[in-house]
Symmetry: D2
Subunit: 182 residues, 4 copies
């Protein structure tokens, strides 16, 4: 399904300290989506497609991965960060606000990589993922948002966000396993 | 409540042809929010605060009000356009996509007008209003989205959008009558 | 030369009141570049390529061509406007600042038109044309800036701007007659 | 002169490998402006005003200072980098293109810091500094571009850029020593 495209995998806000209301709950939900995201990552590595982390900067205002991981690591996050932390060859950008396109080099990077399809994963599904999806849609990228690869504090909010991305932003929201088929 | 601010009233996509799925329903719902928006307009005129229409361009790609009204006028829309059409002194911008900030002069105009609070009204509440609200929030504007001044195809979607604007984007979503008090 | 591309012709700030320091001089210089721009327009019409006017809004904040022409028409400008005014089929956008990309729908329009080459013409060559050229270059458009189709208050400044666009922004700055050849 | 403002110091592309045509020459010219920039930095530290490095990413696409310095260090650059490298408390952003505002978090950062005046320094004066200056001007920042704190491959180009920033972008281009006075 992705084989005919030039896709990039976006991994949104997964380097996270979960220090906010409902952070404990979101940490648990994030654990459940991580296997699917890691499988997608492997599939992208196999196909030599780009993987782009885009993450809150936690007041560092710089994409210094080591310091960011140090800042975010705690009881709620450590088991997640240990597994999902970017490899050296992955792209890693910071974002100052909700959308991955606002105040970032994402658009230039996608243009350089000649990407035309974005696969969105990460948290929170009803905030940063949703608003990134709309910014991508306004720039005319095709969207895949595998429903087993995003999570929100509240399952109903997550489901509403998926429905909105499907109906308003024309995203394919099937489970990630369908994306591996050709 | 608005008296201590420098507010602008945004009227989103109200010059509309309602030629889309559920357009008939949205036209009816739009009729019900129009009195509240017109009252707000009057209040803004009284206070000499700016009123900014921002509207889809319907493939004209220009803010030519007469042609746009001509294009949009039909059985579903005429009674709405007749009442809500901008006066000569109102600002009137077109937008190419969902958000009122994307590909428009809105940010420059707000800067020139020294506005710090946006009152969002119009349609559809769960699409163009919601995504405009997030773009405003990322630019650090305070938001008022009076719940009786936005409408969506589906009432549940409208309600979800209001909740999201309140909780995620810190918008005040009380009914418009509360905004007149001091 | 343009035949293998998907070009658009940009005509910058030619609906102008010339009410500024050196406005009289710029009006005269603008008269001299107009024949070349009009020839280019004809060539674009013949090839059914898009022609996009992008113009200061003169505090109207709307792309209302009639009012804009009315506002700008005076002794210095009338003979220019009479000849260069857009036809109904031309695109006409306003811009709030120097660059044709800043606060405008230009990028969305070019994307919809699938344009990959921009031919820049108009005034002032060392201000709005130059800064539009850089914004186009950052978005990876190829640039043609025919040297007989831009003018500035001062010929040395115009020449410097052309050199900068050639060397820094990789623009082709040959005279427009070369663009007609294949 | 800066005492009544909320200024930020921008240091543009000073972590540089000088691996381009005329790189050797620009390296030498950069050496001559460095004492003035370092003095300005001290003055900003004394006043607890923000210092923001904004730099090409050299295909790393991340603001990883150590790797960037490692990549850029060579015979032409090492004596410059040793002196000008950011301290831990300085902000450090990467930019994908000429302008420091394009594809970066600069605007959000300036908004958070409540900055209203930008002091631009660095290289090249006629490219990245000039185009950053215009983007700042379009966003209505006041500009100081101390003439002894920018350099270009060619002195005439540098002088032309300074003149343009003064006349078109209303920048104060006096030597930096004047900025210390009150």
């Amino acid at each position: 399904m992705l084989k005919d495209c030039k896709p990039a995998l976006l991994i949104i806000d997964m380097i996270n300290d979960f220090n906010f209301a409902h952070g404990e709950i979101l940490s648990q939900k994030t654990s459940t989506i991580m296997p699917s995201i890691l499988d997608l990552k492997d599939y992208f590595y196999q196909n030599k497609w780009p993987i782009i982390y885009i993450n809150d900067h936690y007041k560092l205002w710089k994409a210094d991965l080591e310091r960011l991981i140090q800042h975010c690591s705690n009881e709620r996050s450590k088991h997640i960060i240990d597994k999902i932390a970017p490899r050296k060859e992955d792209y890693f950008l910071i974002k100052p606000k909700h959308s991955a396109f606002y105040g970032t080099a994402l658009e230039s990077l996608l243009q350089e990589l000649k990407v035309d399809v974005l696969v969105l994963t990460g948290i929170a599904g009803n905030i940063c993922v949703l608003f990134t999806a709309n910014d991508a849609y306004m720039r005319e990228y095709s969207l895949f948002v595998p429903q087993d690869c995003i999570a929100s504090n509240n399952d109903q909010d997550n489901s509403n966000a998926l429905t909105m991305m499907k109906e308003v932003l024309k995203a394919n929201i099937e489970p990630s396993k369908f994306f591996y088929e050709q």
